[in-house]
């Protein structure tokens, strides 16, 4: 288990103004007033937390830090701990109705939106997933079941990869005869999804954390949007 460095030296190069600004952004989220009501320090959230058992991670520490508005510590947590959270929301057992998991959701969004280096590190190796979900509308697909991607799942993955096409054809629901997506998705549906990503600023988030991935995604999207008659859509 890697110990979490809580000394205030690790991020001393980041100004307090910047740390305050990031926390203000967290607090300005519309969900903020529903996720933190105070903390008894009872530790129920930690007892219920799966990540706390295997990482130097504590939902209580996060709830306490944000309640005290300790922006220095919040920055440290935002740069490290928040990516250990399993997002299972077992911590919603909190007797004060806090949701450390939801606090972390907001903190992660702010970390990504501001292109924090640690967000980029946390998402390293995750690009293929973002590529898949943004371009196909399904997070995982049958053709992702490859031995090099899931070596710890054993020989069974080889068997699936070797038989993938035939096994997909031997699925009774007609919509599941696919390998690149989890089911058949209409072109119109995908175009609408691309427009949603565009209209809600998600493209900008991707550009902030992985410029190379952004370029690849934009290339594919522009071509399909043009084919669908959306010539005037720009991603700048």
């Amino acid at each position: 288990m890697m110990a979490l460095d809580l000394s205030q030296n690790k991020h001393s190069d980041v100004s307090m103004d910047e740390k305050d600004r990031l926390f203000d952004e967290v607090k300005s989220d519309e969900r903020w007033e529903h996720v933190l009501y105070g903390c008894y320090e009872c530790g129920i959230c930690v007892a219920a937390c799966p990540s706390a058992r295997f990482y130097d991670f504590s939902p209580r520490l996060i709830a306490q830090a944000v309640a005290r508005e300790d922006t220095d510590l919040i920055y440290t947590l935002m740069s490290d701990s928040i990516w250990d959270c399993s997002q299972c929301f077992s911590c919603d057992r909190c007797p004060r109705q806090n949701s450390p998991g939801q606090i972390i959701t907001i903190m992660r969004e702010v970390a990504v939106k501001n292109g924090l280096g640690t967000a980029k590190e946390a998402l390293a190796g995750y690009g293929r997933i973002i590529y898949k979900i943004m371009l196909t509308g399904t997070q995982v697909s049958p053709d992702m079941l490859q031995p090099d991607a899931f070596p710890d799942w054993g020989t069974h993955v080889y068997e699936i990869a070797d038989n993938l096409d035939d096994w997909r054809r031997a699925l009774p629901p007609e919509t599941l005869h696919t390998t690149e997506t989890s089911w058949v998705i209409d072109d119109k549906t995908i175009i609408e999804l691309y427009l949603i990503w565009h209209m809600t600023g998600v493209m900008d988030l991707i550009a902030g954390v992985d410029e190379g991935l952004y370029d690849i995604i934009v290339d594919v999207m522009e071509e399909r949007l043009e084919e669908a008659g959306y010539d005037d859509v720009t991603f700048d």
């Binding site: 295997f54 997002q87 929301f89 009774p172 007609e174 989890s182």
Partner: protein
Amino acid sequence: MSFSDIPILKAEDRKFKADPTKAPKSDLREELFQLEKEGELEVQRVPDNYMELTTKYGRTKKIPLEKTWHHKSCGQCGHIPGYSASIFWLNRQFGLDYHDPTDQTSCTAWNYYASATSNPEAQAAVAIRNFAAADEVGYFPIIHCGTSFGHYKEVRHALVHQPELRRKVRKIMEKLGKKLIVPEEIVHYSEWVLAMKDKIAERQTVDMSMITATVHPACHYHKLVEEDAIYDSEIYGAQRTAIITGTLQKLGINVGDYSTWYDCCGFGFRHILVSRDFSRSFSVQRKIEVMIEEVNPDVTVTHDTGCVTTLDQSQFAGKAHGKKVGLPVMSDSQIAALAMGAHPYKVLQLHWHNTDNKAFLQKLGFDTDKLWAEFQAEIKEIKDGKKQYMSWEDADR
């Protein structure tokens, strides 16, 4: 007053029954209908053929039995497709009118919880686009994935309480030519299975009384917006969700209890994809080993994409480390279909699962060699070009 006059309530006689008038949270549906009156959004009503089940705080929830629009799960359809096929098979067996849409994206919440490379507007717009697509064809959404279910409940909650989010999503939907429409109920498929349990039991052809199972309730089913999950005073005294357990008990299965039932499966969203050491360790040490040590079940049954995947796939590495593993993992839809005589490979598609399930099937009396040969015969016909796909009729042959 004598000692005998003092009423003594024994623990075993105490029956908890939730009182909806004392619910700590408001009924979101009332707020939804109020917003509809104000012209803020439209509410899609549950179609006529429904059953009412009880939720955590004693309210009732309408579970549609047909005219259902199946919001599929990317993880189920992609990696454990017999999970979804079993849901459809059950609908077909009862002759129910359902729709398996191609105008559907995933909820994209797996990515959202894993990477935060999205935001509330995008997530709500994806949800409402799917809901609108269901309404356009006249069917009511039923959600296959636990995370999609939990996430959509959160989206609905946010849309009700955040006017600015509603405004943004309405504008996006206008540009897509769609309505801002929200279902009256957010329904998970396992609620449908529970609602159908008596009918499933009537058609049961496989005796399951010799089977002991453990149950893992999905976190995003009963921990996210917890007031919307199904509870029953006859199941765990309404102190845990009745989902899965109620179905298994109706099928004659003995459900064993274990101490870490509340723990998650270890999926972790980003962890299962890029930090699987955590998922493997948690799943094996906190769930599978505990189940085996405390119950020694024949199977563990759950009701979500991530849970089946993590609990099943993690056991391979556990075996390599000499851990107590080897417990088959299935969904409640697969168990229900199996009880009604569905083919373990053509319908349940158990060859996509990792942990060996032959001993479980053989205990139920299935001839696994014969059944696998039947499936291989279908594959041969596909390979030989005699057929392009295996049909539903082939699956039932």
